[in-house]
Symmetry: C2
């Protein structure tokens, strides 16, 4: 199905070249569509890698293998298949991934473990090996592609292509970070979400990159939700070629490590928010800020209970300042809360304070805020210092349209 | 908003009289509607009571008081306000409930603690005391109503009125159980759901009634979900007048106790399923049967993860045998699962067995099953003996229509 671009779409960011990274795209015809659906990214020898993956108990072979591969910390190539997730396909699924890795490693003369494979699309249909083989052969021969081509080729139901960029100074060396991501449904937190890839020319030890990626993930990809549904294939990988020539970062105490971590966080946050902006059927981008909770984790759980509540999401879709539904969601989160200390606001205006409606509450400016497409919900628990921010979108007829008909 | 009856509606059951129980209804005009919205049920002296309530951390005053009252085990009256939940209204909310209880207890000459009050409707608007007072005065004077009138008067967004009945033999005495319930949105498990009331003429000790109600609740009301959203006011109360004259049931070893527990379970299951049949926007009734799980609790959590998945619910709405989304939901449930032992079927036909698609899978009979409005999903984990059955409905445009516009 061809979908109109999300009303919340942003233009594709201008992503510079990253030394040591070359992308190529090709048509593997995984589905009956006229577009590139196989992406190949080649990395210079010595490239470090880190990754975070879905917590699903039914994870795909790609995720299982990827978890093992990142422990070795080195990468030479990434293959992304779009249109077929190859998940829940038994031994045939594993054979397909191993065959692709073998084909690429033979071409590069590297270990197959240095070839990372991701697949996204329909679950339960074995990846057609003939198409994969011909597609890989074609992509290895293809001309280098630009970042936008790669971001387009990894997408499935995405309505716009998504990239982000940032820089950091490590000593006197400026390093560059680029990221691309795909995803718009089956998006829920507690994992790395969907397929995201971050590329940098910084020199950094794999273990430190892994630590920074996990930290960033916790406050970005794990803080977004579209529908509360967790994919079997969610993956975020970060690749660092070292071509910038900075003094390699080995631990957080090294000069420039915090600057790099901040830039990595920045790229992850941009990418995570772009996924929400392409949430299936989304018409409004919602930021939920929870303060005064028992702990940061408690605040995040409460924020996610609000973000995943169909009643809150439909109220926002209808432009309804229905703070009673926010109370309901706080109540069901299973976290410490005191009804009589709870405050709720929209767009910076409190509707309820300390467990009851604000006496002179004027709904007019709140209604105006809710008529827009960037919505803020503030919740203060009044019982502690815990805080968290979560991003989601509204629940509209568009979500039903997309998911009642699409075999994804 | 006036909603058309759910396509899954059933006719109101024929409920006999219960000795010791008299219902009356009146117009309190809690909303701008022309219908009875205040229900009063009077019980003979000596009536036992048991109750289960929402687990919400933001529960209403009615729920807080009700939890305390059931510990005393006796009831003389029930008041149900429809159109205003009186939840999250601070001290004014508590004053309103206390005033109603005082008014009724003065009329009956009983302790105010023997008067149970429930309220359902919009959250965060104090119950208008003048309307409540006039309404209670009117209802105390009203003619006795039949069960259907009472079932209608407790409803809010319900599209049909819901009742259930069963009998049991205790020794030589036949006892009768009737139940009425309201609810169609903000329905999620892990609590007693919405407002449900069960009436019986059996003689039974409050503590045993409470134990039986909790057991039944766990396998009925706690096994349904419409939208995963938990109300602040969910309540199920059971009242036993003892007028049937059976030898009073004091413990499970007493003759007839299991027969009565079975009848109570039967009424609870009927009522719970009726709520699902009136799920907001529901077009299909879905039974999800999970077997082979690590434990019964694990099976229930997995069944609920499937039942609450918007992607599964929209797939069923679209008549799509999308078992990949069921795999996704099993994976995200946070329970033990082995991808390669997992089997999934629809309407009694396995689509996937032991972690991969069935080789000669014929989708035609499955598609035919999914075109109907009573859908069965079978999931076998293949790792243990745990089992659970959960009921839900599909997610359709109707849910968005109702909730994007209704200030509930």
């Amino acid at each position: 199905m061809d979908l109109a671009p999300s009303p919340l779409a942003l233009p594709f960011a201008t992503l510079p070249q990253i030394a040591g990274v070359t992308a190529r795209v090709a048509r593997a015809h995984y589905k009956d569509w006229d577009r590139c659906d196989l992406t190949y990214v080649e990395f210079a020898p010595g490239t470090a890698v880190a990754g975070v993956f879905t917590q699903s108990a039914c994870a795909s072979t790609e995720v299982e293998l990827g978890r093992e591969q990142v422990k070795q910390g080195v990468a030479r190539a990434l293959i992304v298949n779009a249109g077929n997730s190859n998940a829940f396909t038994g031994h045939r699924g594993r054979t397909a991934v191993e065959q692709i890795a073998a084909q690429v490693s033979a071409h590069l003369g590297c270990a197959p473990e240095a070839v990372f494979v991701s697949s996204t699309g329909v679950i339960g249909v074995p990846l057609p090996m003939d198409k994969a083989k011909a597609g890989v052969a074609a992509v290895l021969d293809a001309e280098p592609a630009d970042w936008r081509d790669a971001a387009l080729a990894i997408g499935t139901t995405d309505t716009f292509c998504k990239g982000a960029t940032a820089t950091a100074m490590i000593g006197d060396t400026k390093v560059q970070l680029n990221g691309i991501i795909k995803g718009s449904g089956m998006i829920a937190p507690d994992m790395a979400t969907m397929l995201g890839y971050i590329f940098t020319d910084a020199a950094i030890a794999p273990s430190l990159l892994q630590q920074m990626l996990e930290d960033a993930n916790k406050r970005t990809f794990s803080c977004i939700t579209v529908d509360g549904d967790t994919s079997t294939s969610d993956t975020v990988l970060a690749f660092a070629t070292g071509a910038a020539g900075n003094r390699p970062l080995l631990e957080m105490d090294d000069a420039g490590a915090y600057a790099f971590a901040a830039a990595l966080h920045d790229v992850c946050r941009q990418l995570a928010q772009l996924v929400v902006r392409d949430g299936e059927g989304a018409a409004k981008f919602i930021e939920i800020r929870v303060t005064g909770a028992a702990s940061d984790d408690s605040a995040r759980n409460i924020a996610l209970a609000i973000a995943n509540s169909p009643l809150v999401k439909t109220a926002i879709a209808g432009g309804d300042a229905n703070w009673g539904r926010v109370v309901m969601a706080v109540g069901k989160a299973g976290e410490p809360a005191d009804r009589d200390k709870l405050s709720i606001g929209f767009g910076g205006i409190w509707a309820a304070r300390d467990g009851q409606p604000v006496a002179d509450y004027d709904e007019a400016p709140v209604a105006e805020h809710l008529a827009g497409d960037e919505i803020d919900i503030d919740v203060d628990l009044g019982i502690g210092d815990g805080r968290a921010t979560v991003w989601t979108c509204d629940l509209t007829h568009g979500y039903i349209d997309i998911n009642a008909d699409y075999r994804s």
